[in-house]
Point group: D2
């Protein structure tokens, strides 16, 4: 008897979402092998399934070029230990508007994911003014809702129309041209993928409630020449003005300055979670200082001095 | 003949919203006088009305302790010049669930503002599992929708039930206790209110696409001992990874270190918008360096030296 | 009746010193006009004469490329207010060995200024081993001493032989080739000479006896990109380990970053004396930030914001 | 047959110098055992003897509270590798004026070490105006010179009068009361003495001739909270304005921040010599960050993250 173990990967379901397309892109690039795709209701559920060991990975949207960070994903990554980002992929995002029978002009309600709604709101204001928005947990769930008669129009990836038997009324709908969304593959905490020289590192931390604690913490990066590309302040929910900070760092945890900055941040922060180091999509800049050899020499020098060798 | 000019203030309408309550709180504190309240559909519309001179002020939510920044407000403040924050007020936020006739158990759909929905989602998961969420443009608009039969339940401030003739099924609903929302009063750009010593300053900037530009910009605050309380990276919508940065600063533009840091940031940034300096609610820490006198002396010393006096 | 006022300039006498040559160089370059040269016994006496109003300027050595700072000059500049550096000139330094009658081989004692002695010690070890050194207050005073029979050999500028009727036994004597000494023109405190873009600024300060006070003070320069070329720690004479710090700065007090750094240092230090800003000899690097225009714009921006204009 | 090896220690001779007293103080404190004292003509000769293996240690003056650093000692330490400081001792310094027969009033010349001369110059101006100064290589050599008739008065430690059979004309002579000199014990490069928590570290370095290189180098200390107590710029003798920098650091090379700062300096400097870490005399402040445990934790955290453990 042979037991065949197939990998399981959670994604924002049901079938037909951009997240599903991202998962296929990860597979097409050989980042992950053939896997059983397990639909989740939201990023938090997908990431919790990773932590619980119910799936091997979760494929979740983390940021888009129109609406910014996908905060439920960040919040889910930050809420507990045990999950880490291993890879990323960027996809171009365009929506198709699909109905079951009716035309756009006849439609009274539109359903889609709130982030998608942000990206087509101006278009709708022009082409379907006054249409009521019903929030859906995913774009594909929106298509399903239209198929089941719970709303008139869905904004979703065009292939969702095929899956749910809907009529495409408009395609390539996007308020902002060239909109892109970044998706990440989240697994259980483990050894980060090897440094490629063009990597991204993400971390989240809270600071003691002291004047200057944020600028001082950011100074740990600045003084080591570590480049931050993004900082987010998320409420800790314990009161106005208390935050959890998310930073995106250029470089890999194995780069000396990145490691040392995080080590210093570990000392300065109340909590610090490492969210992963992974190869960055489309990043041509090479991370790390060019003088890795000099650093090595300097370390040996220090070691010799200390030993009196 | 006498022309009586009454001030006009835009708020997130219709009547019955927390924003309306905030506007009343500003009036109760004497921050603004008697005014005609003008309902707006969203923060952007309210702020645009200020810029267009259609109203004198806009009262808008800017941040809450559960869901963080109210990004439409930030985006609206950043999208053009001409508007500036003059005051803030914090309100405790709790929701009442209200229906027209039916009980919660009978209800199939709930409507409220998406930010409000974030704050009651766990409660709903327990008390009304599976209920469909319909996004509303405001909590009061949600109550109005229930009154008009477009949804079964509204989550809104309790006094909205009275306004729209609804039945309160549950009150004090909030996933996170002690949730608070901060509201600000936005007017046309002008002289900031006088420094009180416990002030907040807000600014938004974009940086040249160069390695290290963010840490270097933040260094302008750090090196002058200026305390940041919040940093946000908002997408510029021109591609993944290009951001507009929002900072909240402790202190007033008239505080020497704050002014000098912003002056330096002006030189380092591509665009920099000053969003205002105003008295901070509940901030016991006094802004500014304690050595204002020493700074004055140091300046005179420098001036004398330069003049050879 | 016409009163002709001729300027008086103190120098390290008697006639025949390098300092006298430096004074002539200042005159040759048009830095100072025709003047009565007043011999002083040491730099302190010359600088005190400036403070007392007995002379208009003092020409004193401040640093040489072999032995470093001329500490009596620095100490005299630091010991009181009222004196300031206005100009500098560098001279190549070579010594002639001169006797009255005897040869070098016959000589038992050599006299010269101790700083000069440092610069010919190796040469003497080879060519006149075992010769006794008698300290002189100046090289010319050494020549005078030989003329008066108080020592056998003097190391002095070659033209001192002519002045004092001595025989040159060796010329171009210098342990280190291309040795140079920098001389400065010290006047009463006043308006510094105009910024040339290639200037030097000097200051001396004491710090509170607190951990980190020195690195923090130096940080005021670093954070503004102000370049230090030299730092000296001189004892305050109140105990081991308590110092007065001398810094040489590239740039002029009228350069914004230099002025601001000194202003900040004024706040951080216990005492701070400005020792002058003056055109630097042979300094090709232009001081000041290239973005003076941007700074001007940034200042206007800040002023407008503060005024609400 | 038994070979008894007795340690050899060079000192500034001949017998009767303060340096000899310092050597006895080191022995009295048990820093070094019984040893053969070997007279040297100057600090450089003593330190070279260490490098050459001719002696085990050199006892040399390094700094005094009146005249500052003993530059020949610093220059000798910097001129080559192979020597390192292991211990320090501070001595109070007072001079006795001694003659052979004559009185002070009758004396025409005084001899002593130039550093000693700096410390009694004012006293002499008052009590023996116009007396000629003859430089001696040490204070004891000065006493010897008087004994041999080569000068009239010697300024030296009082016990030198006994050694050389001279008459003490005045004792406790010192322009500045409470003058102290610090002496160090220099041995061949080796493992530094164990960290005591109140240590001093010394290093000397040269920097690339680039704008900002000095402030940037000093920043390596500042950013790690490492306290500098003294900085000296010594000429490299290759031209005006090119320096070798000496720094005295509070802390031990085994303190993490000190080690890391020197490691970073190693990368930034052209040359860097470690001059030793040793227990500091009279230093009550404990070196090292109080959070050594936190640092240890932070390092383990980083290591675990990198390994994926």
């Amino acid at each position: 008897m042979v037991l065949v173990s197939v990998m399981r990967i959670a994604f924002l379901g049901p079938s037909g979402t951009f997240t599903e397309a991202a998962l296929k892109a990860f597979q097409a690039r050989g980042v992950v092998a053939e896997a059983e795709a397990v639909a989740a209701a939201n990023p938090r559920e997908a990431i919790q399934a990773v932590r619980a060991g119910e799936v091997d990975y979760a494929c979740v949207a983390i940021e888009n070029s129109v609406d910014g960070p996908v905060t439920p994903t960040f919040d889910a990554l930050a809420e507990a230990e045990g999950a880490q980002i291993y890879a990323e992929v960027d996809l171009a995002i365009e929506f198709a508007l699909m109905t079951r029978g009716c035309t756009l002009a006849q439609a009274k309600s539109i359903t889609t994911h709130p982030v998608a709604y942000q990206q087509i709101q101006s278009w709708l204001g022009e082409h379907a003014p006054g249409i009521e928005f019903i929030a859906a947990s995913s774009n594909a769930a929106a298509a399903q809702a239209v198929a089941e008669g719970r709303a008139d129009v869905a904004a979703a990836p065009v292939h969702a129309a095929e899956i749910y038997g809907l009529d495409v009324q408009a395609d390539h709908v996007a308020d902002v041209p060239d909109a892109r969304t970044r998706f990440v593959l989240v697994g259980r905490s483990g050894k980060p993928p090897a440094r490629t020289g063009a990597d991204r590192t993400s971390a989240v931390f809270t600071l003691p409630n002291r004047p200057g604690s944020l600028v001082s913490a950011l100074g740990e990066f600045a003084m080591r020449g570590v480049d931050l590309t993004r900082i987010e302040s998320r409420p800790t929910r314990s009161g106005l003005g208390t935050y959890r900070f998310h930073v995106d760092i250029l470089g890999h945890i194995d780069d000396a300055p990145v490691g040392e900055a995080l080590q210093a941040l570990h000392m300065a922060s109340e909590t610090l979670s490492f969210l992963g180091s992974w190869p960055a999509e489309g990043l041509t800049r090479v991370s790390g200082r060019p003088d890795e050899a000099a650093l090595q020499q300097a370390r040996q020098w220090l070691e010799h001095i200390r030993k009196g060798a």
